[in-house]
């Protein structure tokens, strides 16, 4: 198991002008979550140009499908990415999930609208908002997300405490 280097992966994507939004556990961590995450999830724009940049940037990290035996062939290139949609990869920098669509929100343009621009690692990145994360978690409907939803709702309140005059 390779420890996921969140900083290295996000910095690499941002520095190579990839159009992406940070989603999932890393976005939740950025908002203050205390839940551990072991992979980086991003929603990527599915234009030919962006997918080509994405593949050129990530290819040196040797991405391979996670949980799939080595003998199942997969070529990490634009054609493969455009033929699919959502991928779970292991790379030399750790686990990275590339999502073309986020359940409960939609494709990249909708995910971007549900994100905020903020500083991460000295770079400006789009990060899914707490509201966006809640939509995605509710749509996923997984039992393990229940605790994450309760935590995110608490973070939303803690970020916006009630007025003392109320």
């Amino acid at each position: 198991m390779v420890e996921t280097n969140i900083e290295a992966i996000l910095t690499l994507l941002a520095q190579n002008q990839i159009e992406f939004v940070v989603i999932g556990g890393v976005a939740a961590l950025a908002h203050g979550s205390a839940r551990a995450t072991f992979d980086v999830d991003v929603c990527y724009r599915r234009t030919k140009e962006n997918v080509a940049r994405l593949c050129n940037t990530l290819a040196p990290l040797n991405p391979r499908l996670r949980g799939v035996t080595e003998d199942i062939p997969f070529i990490f290139d634009s054609e493969s990415i455009l033929l699919g949609l959502n991928f779970t990869f292991t790379t030399d920098m750790g686990d990275l999930d590339l999502l073309g669509e986020v359940a409960g929100i939609g494709m990249y343009d909708q995910v971007l609208m549900a994100s905020e621009r903020g500083g991460l690692y000295g770079l400006t990145m789009n990060v899914l908002t707490i509201e966006g994360l809640l939509k995605a978690k509710r749509a996923a409907g997984r039992r393990k997300d229940l605790e994450a939803i309760i935590e995110l709702e608490a973070l939303r309140d803690l970020n916006d405490p009630p007025s003392v005059t109320e």
Binding site: A36, E153, A154, L158
Partner: protein
């Protein structure tokens, strides 16, 4: 079942929020709200670096444990 003991710092925090609020629900659910409060004092980058450090420590511990552990053999 033992009654929930609420730390003074959490009780003080809860008094700022109406009953039934998300913060109350989180505490009732068992989420350690003090971790969230501490995280919110950090910048987003500091939060991610801290989480990475914790994950790294956890992975190091797991590797070390796996390398040194021996299975108990039942005696007959």
């Amino acid at each position: 079942m033992q009654p929930t003991v609420v730390q003074p710092v959490i009780a003080q925090l809860l008094s700022q929020y109406p009953p039934g609020s998300a913060v109350h629900k989180a505490v009732e659910y068992g989420i350690d709200i003090t971790l969230l409060i501490e995280n919110l004092k950090l910048t987003p980058t500091q939060r991610l670096r801290r989480a990475e450090q914790i994950c790294k420590s956890w992975c190091d511990f797991k590797k070390s444990f796996n390398a040194q552990s021996t299975k108990h053999v039942p005696r007959h």
